[in-house]
């Protein structure tokens, strides 16, 4: 479940609708109140995707600014956070894709998947040498590096499921794809992360 509201599909609560209506009329202070409510959650979600504080800050700013510009299109059929969430995710996914192309490190899923047979139930041997006991900081750095090696689609699926705790349907709504596609992406994202982090989680 999207944790900010009772259910992602339920309409926005009344006081929130008042703030949204004021923001739609051009009241920046009303929008500021909405930002205050959701900035922590928004930042965390974006950080989980990009694994860098400054990038997460900038993208959260960009996402909220985009939400301000398009707030007239919010109709209250879902919670405001669900609507905001989708905007933030789209901004972040676009950034991830662009970064991978510009950096020449576009993650070629077809290449990586050759090492992972659909029927393979155990993760292939770890690419990295076995880790000695790692510090918390080192563990976080390993996680950051591993997630950054995932494609935008696999990264989104695994972050939304394992860290954000969303259900399949919610992930499908955010990613605008079918539940089957979500589950398939989760399968391969998990396999890749298992390959990269096996030595870490096995020693904990």
């Amino acid at each position: 479940m999207l944790k900010e509201t009772a259910a992602s599909a339920s309409p926005a609560p009344e006081d929130e609708l008042v703030l949204v209506a004021r923001a739609q009329a051009g009241d920046a202070q009303a929008f500021n109140e909405l930002v205050t409510r959701y900035r922590t959650r928004a930042y965390a979600m974006i950080y989980n995707m990009v694994r860098n504080e400054q990038d997460a800050w900038d993208l959260a700013q960009d996402g909220f600014l985009k939400a301000w510009k398009s707030i007239g299109r919010f109709r209250g059929q879902s919670s405001f956070f669900t609507w905001l969430y989708r905007i933030l995710m789209n901004v972040t996914i676009d950034w991830v894709r662009k970064r991978q192309i510009e950096g020449g490190t576009e993650f070629d899923d077809t290449q990586a998947l050759q090492a992972v047979e659909p029927g393979a139930l155990t993760a292939p041997r770890a690419e990295l040498p076995p880790a000695d006991r790692l510090s918390d900081k080192e563990i976080r750095e390993r996680i950051d590096a591993s997630i950054q090696r995932l494609s935008a689609e696999h990264r989104t699926a695994i972050v939304l499921r394992e860290i954000e705790g969303l259900e399949y349907q919610e992930i499908a709504d955010v990613m605008d794809c079918s539940i089957g596609t979500v589950m398939s992406r989760l399968f391969y994202a998990r396999k890749k992360l298992q390959t990269m982090l096996k030595d870490v989680y096995e020693t904990l």
Binding site: N32, Y43, Q61, T122, G180, F187, E202
Partner: protein
């Protein structure tokens, strides 16, 4: 039947139920390593949740401040354009309107100078009616007032802001 990856993911997440679960577990019975793998995926999930979560947002109030400054900066050019257009005298609409009003004024003056006798007291309202009926701009209305004693006909044109200096009564 759903692809293997989808069923496997659902099985790992405990989302397979009933007959579907039974059938899949029969299929997995050929792969004893599957149970070990599910355990590994759960360990991975715990690792990501325990160590992969985001740090707190630093300077949250500054976050809002910076965002509001960006919103203000975005709105400033739009506000400037609005103010400029409100004070601008010569938008296209204004020119078109002026042209229509000028036509009406021109008709009035032509009629007054060529078609009507000099003393046209009784005919002044009639002239106003002609002009009003033929005016290109419905926002312009002409009223004619005549004074026999002063031998003067006044044409009162409503809705006309500007009259070119070259137009003169005869």
């Amino acid at each position: 039947m759903k692809p293997f990856e989808e069923r496997y993911t659902a099985w790992i997440d405990g989302a397979l139920k009933g007959e579907e679960l039974q059938r899949f577990e029969e299929e997995l019975s050929q792969h004893p390593e599957a149970v070990e793998d599910r355990k590994a995926v759960h360990q991975l999930g715990r690792l990501l949740r325990d160590f992969g979560s985001a740090p707190p947002l630093r300077n949250p109030d500054f976050f809002n401040h910076q965002l509001l400054a960006r919103i203000e900066a975005e709105q400033a050019p739009a506000r400037r354009e609005k103010v400029e257009s409100a004070h601008a005298g010569w938008s296209f609409g204004r020119w078109a309107w002026l042209g229509g009003a000028a036509c009406v004024a021109g008709m009035v003056f032509v009629l007054s100078s060529t078609l009507l006798p000099k003393a046209g007291g009784a005919s002044a309202p009639y002239m106003a009616q002609i002009v009003n009926a033929r005016a290109a701009d419905s926002g312009v209305w002409v009223t004619a007032l005549h004074s026999d004693a002063d031998d003067v006909t006044v044409l009162w044109i409503d809705g006309l802001d500007y009259l070119p200096a070259s137009y003169q009564l005869q």
